[in-house]
């Protein structure tokens, strides 16, 4: 490395990630960094501009040139909205729990003992991405109806459908995590020491894919926070349905924008924070 870079100078690559890129020529590195920062700048502009327009609109008052925060302070005044937020958050928690309990043991099991099923599982997990929610609901409605005859269903029962919707995202995240660790060796080592399968999964493999688990949780949460079609057709009021109803009934366009911006910001911060939490835990274990 000393032959490539001047003594005492530290390239950005070495500060960030010495391992993979330490051996690249510095000119290559500079071009790479230029490329990266150009891409990030353009991407940030594209994605932030509509959001910025939205936020700006939420501050616009009734007269041109006038600005007000009333659209934001009004959010708390829609009683149905707070209920819908609470329901959606609870739904997110339940969906995550069921999703992970369903997927993690299955995927580990398949990797260890039933590899020939892995293609099928992958296919099934990607299917929800491609079947329109409207088609799914047309088929789900009879199922929900027959259950509703006997049992009154609270909106939290939407989780049955949400677990399906989140499968593609959770599967991807978990598969990436499982690919990164050597599940076979871990499992064999644990089993040869007398561990039960439950112990293998929960106490040996899962902690090693903590980041992937977290990732799956984040993606599932983002999905639940953003889901509209199924809830509205099955006549439940979740966050997005409530926002939609507000948008149709409100006198003030600003309120629609402030509520959407708030919900996006909330989801984003939640995901970001969770990603840091996961990393620290992972670090400690090493």
């Amino acid at each position: 490395m000393a032959a490539v870079t001047p003594v005492g100078a530290v390239t950005p690559a070495e500060v960030e990630a010495p391992q993979p890129r330490g051996s690249m020529r510095s000119s290559r590195l500079r071009r790479l960094n230029l490329f990266r920062w150009t891409v990030f700048t353009l991407a940030t502009l594209f994605f932030l501009l509509p959001l910025f327009a939205m936020v700006r609109f939420s501050f616009v008052g009734t007269q041109p040139g006038e600005y007000t925060i009333s659209a934001w302070t009004q959010i708390a005044s829609y009683p149905g909205l707070l209920d819908a937020i609470r329901i959606t958050l609870e739904l997110a928690v339940i969906t995550v729990i069921v999703e992970l309990s369903l997927l993690v043991p299955t995927m580990i099991w398949v990797r260890l003992r039933v590899q020939w099923l892995s293609r099928t599982i992958e296919f099934l997990c990607l299917l929800p991405l491609t079947i329109p929610a409207i088609v799914l609901v047309v088929g789900l409605a009879p199922v929900y109806r027959s259950v509703r005859q006997h049992v009154s269903l609270s909106p939290l029962q939407l989780f049955w459908a949400y677990v399906i919707l989140a499968l593609p995202y959770a599967y991807r995240a978990l598969a990436a995590g499982l690919d990164a660790i050597d599940v076979r060796t871990l499992a064999e080592a644990a089993r040869s020491l007398g561990a039960s399968w439950f112990t293998v999964m929960v106490r040996v493999v899962a902690p090693n894919m903590w980041q992937a688990l977290l990732n799956a949780m984040l993606l599932t949460t983002a999905l639940v926070l953003g889901e509209f079609t199924i809830a509205s057709i099955l006549l439940y009021t979740n966050l997005q349905v409530a926002l939609y109803q507000i948008s149709r009934a409100t006198l003030d366009a600003g309120v629609l924008f402030s509520t959407s911006a708030a919900s996006l910001l909330f989801a984003f911060l939640l995901l970001l924070i969770l990603s840091y939490v996961g990393r620290q835990r992972g670090r400690e274990r090493r």
Binding site: A17, T130, P132, A133, V135, S192, F257, S275
Partner: protein, 281 residues
Amino acid sequence: MAGVRPVRAGRRLPLAWTGTIPFFAYVGLFLLLPTGIVVWNSLTDASGKLNLGSIKTLFDPAVRMYFVNSLELSAISAVVGAVFGAVIAYAVASGNPDGLVRRLATAGSGVLAQFGGVTLAFAFNAAIGPTSGFLTKASWYYDFPQGISLIYVYFQVPLMVLVFLPAVDGMKMQWREATENLGGSTWHFWRHVGGPLLAPAFLGSTLLLFANSLSAYATVQAWENQIAYVVPQQISIAITSEVGLASANEAQVLALGMVIVVAVVMVSYTLLQRRTSRWLR
């Protein structure tokens, strides 16, 4: 040593698949069964007999137009989203795996891939709408497919980042360095190593984006709701029309059409994935 159990008991092997029963039961009940119900209902008439006449209506010129529009919109948004998403994914993957940029990109992609519907359409309207746009007033905003494709790209790109990033991560930097050491240029690398390697994953992800766009409904309905351009909009009309045009049968036939298109896409995706796995293991 005491307490050591044999790791694999030969006689238990054939039953190992039963461990996946909970998964298959759940997916079977809540995904395959509803889809099956839709397909079944569209192929049978009210008394339950098989009636393939509904398939013929899929070839009606009006119905064909919905499918053509859907395919056009999906193709544009998938290709554009895939290209930009792949570039961003590469830019993210070539950085620090633990760094802030990566985190922001992952969190941002996770949120924006799900961002759609009324709020997205309104955000774009506030940005470039023909009457209330703040950045510019785009007269083509309500034209099909230009306006809506741009909006779709907004959530397709993050989705591409999410599904393509693992593939880019799997492409080891050592290969890049090896090419360099052997005297190859960047172009060489992409043409002979990186390109062929990532191509199946890239095409597979594009197909996923395509299918995702086909099934999107809330966004296009919020963008405009007075003309039915794409199939999901027409399905909604067939379910909710209050001027006498509601037809459960039409809804199911259209849904069947979508399932067929999606099946074709998914089969292609699976075939492509077989090729990817060879390299990335």
